[in-house]
Amino acid sequence: MAKSKEEKVLSTLWSAGCGSHGGCGCEIFVKDGKVTRVEGDPNHPFNQGRLCAKGLALPQYMYHPDRVTHPLKRVGERGEGKWKQITWDEAYDTIETKLKDIRSKYGAESVIFCQGTGRDIGGAITFLMYAYGSPNWVQVGLAGHACYTPRLGAMYATHGHYAVADCSQFLEKRFEDPEYVLPKYIIIWAQNPSAGCHDGFYGHWIIDCMKRGSKLIVIDPRSTWFSSRAEVHIQNRPGTDGIIALAMLNVIINEGLYDKEFVKKWCYGFEELKKRVQEYPPEKAEEISWVPADLIRKAARLYANNKPSAIQWGEPVDAMPAGSVVSQAINHLWAITGNIDNPGGNVIARNSHGVTTYPFSSAELTELYGADLVKRLNEKRIGANDYPMIKGFRGWVQPDVLIEQMETGKPYPVKAAWIQTSNIIGGQAADPRRHYNAMKKLDFIVCVDIFQNPTTMALADIFLPVCTICERDSFRSWWQPLGVSVKAVDEVGESKSDWDINLEMAKRLATTPIKFNTVREIFDDRLKVGNTNFEKLKAKGGWEFPPKGDKTRPYYRYEKGLLRADGKPGFDTPTGKVELYAKRFEEWGLDPLPYYEEPKEGPVSTPDLFKKYPLILTTGRRSPVFFHSEHRMVPWLRELDPDPVIEINDKTAADIGVANGEWVYVENPRGKIKMRAKVTPTSHPKVVTVPHAWWLPETDGKAPNLFSTWDHNVNNLTSMGNQGKSGFGGTNLRSNICRVAKIKD
């Protein structure tokens, strides 16, 4: 192995393929123009040389024989799987003609721009969409926006900024930095951090903290590696996290364990909160959540009495009934204990150097595209006018409203979709059949992706092949550090990067001329607020932390006047305080204080139906080797997790006559799927857990089979239209019901 002839390129992982919301520094080894290996970069403070299974499998992903490497045009009916290879020119010409025609007949808003999860795609897709003139940026079928947005919205309303558990990730020297203090306790709230790096948080940072002495409180319906090692394991009924948080607030307030000085000086609405939480004593929480009241007390006391302590939370919080309200209650835990922007608490997380690569919020969109355009387009944005919190906070379409609009054509018809690295039918959408039926009727659909998947097969008229992170330049400022992804090899086949495709398309479709000639010009334009550019960052090894004193660097910025536009001390909220009583919620017509809402189905809400479907089904159990619907075709990964598996308690399985490894039907009023049973005492007797987004790329891709998505995608048991009052949260992804039965053949 003549490794000496290899060239090493330092880069940042953040796109399809790497398998997460990214951030890892990597070494890409190249020989004869091909990537031979991808490894972790030992000098990168984010991952310090480590890398997950998905990152390490990148070469097999890149050079996979099934990868689509040329533009394709559909030649049969939708779903027939008949494609013809075409040139980029033909593809672009076709798209340009169609989309211009649709714009002149129905308006630009009739075209939706659809993305999957948050990666480097967000910057590129909004760039194209605003150039075309549509306001409709959407994660199609993501019921109740149940992916980080409810949490982000609640934090924005409460303290004007977002906060994350402090595992020293904001400091270049990490744990060695003298400013850093280790959290005494970390509450892991509804997440399995060893299975991935959600929301820009490297999961194994928790282990780094544990090794140094942090203790754990784990809130999870399942027994996990983390709960085995926790001081307290709150094994609650799925969907009841809100009442756990409210009862913990009740204990902390009534026992006087909160940070009185912080609350007095920096919080607004404490008395109102105090009054509200009287409705939620731990005994009431016990009745609802199955968790002994004393265990809730113990968790509350440990957290409040040990400062600093941090909370790391997961996506299930978003999918609770009224997800933004549950988020608000959890946010109040760190607020009233003063664990905000302190070392080892929940530190305020801002995009490094103030650079926006990916506009999360309405405010950022306005910054990038101008208030006029955003305001004008918002008048047409689907769902924004129904939900003030969506209009005020998130520049996205409300997905539950979208599906109705696609079906009814009211108030205006949706005619076309630009779908970029998003597997709507095969994983993203709740009730995928409903989306399939509605989207099949659209006049024109472009899919930009790496592989064929249930969505591209079912819907694409034109398929544009996109390249992986090793074949493209990109940049990233999702929290910190500021980083660049560096193109290490030429694009495989004729594929192109998302940014290249979207800039080229934007030049053809824009109503006013695009001022950028190259993608590099866009990057440098965005990076200039950070006093840097792509080449400078690349020369430094691909990353840089903000300088000392920068507004995007911790700690205690509220004391220093670094959070508000007016430069005054305090938080970026109407009152300048942490709003326990949220003025912004009030302004959006919502209850300013947190409350508990019961899942729509289950032992409490629908006891009769629950007799028929007596198990609580929680979906989205993460696998450490897959990211959402990705990676099922990569042998190195699939070998490790070959089948869609339902976890079921051993005694429960014995009762219904299911043995370990047997195939079962998982059924509820909405449908039936097939899973393989893993019989294990780690499951709660009344709860089964299922991974999301399963499809079998080795099976027939043509309709109706569509890679077996109808058989194995658990979203076939979920529905749209359960959104909370704010438009956020409230769907049945985590607190669903089902019955399980052995498949007899």
Binding site: M1, K3, R37, V38, E39, G40, P42, G49, R50, L51, C52, A53, L56, A57, P59, Q60, S194, A195, G203, H204, I207, D208, K211, S223, T224, W225, S227, S228, H233, P624, V625, P635, W636, L637, E639, L640, T680, P681, T682
Partner: protein, 109 residues
Amino acid sequence: MPRNGLLIQYDWCTGCHACEVACKQEHNFTGGMVGIKVHELVTVGPDKVHTDFIPVTTRFCDLCAERVKGGEQPACVKHCQATCMMYGPVATLAKAMEKQPRSSIYAPK
């Protein structure tokens, strides 16, 4: 030449499978061949159910012979997300093991 091996402090192993894929990538193993496998171990204690993971080297582990020649760590050791693996002479590992609970040494070659 002292005999080398791997010390794995399995109490920290989270079952993330990075070591397995690192090994496959390093050796370009296909068809399920691999130098290390991670097993889930579930035990029921008096008050709770425990989940642990136990990595075990296989007959295909060559301790990254090629790679370590250049002074690199074995691929699994470098990438272990819980940093719970150590490579070196067995005697050195045994010394380190005296201070590490719940660990094992593998000397595959």
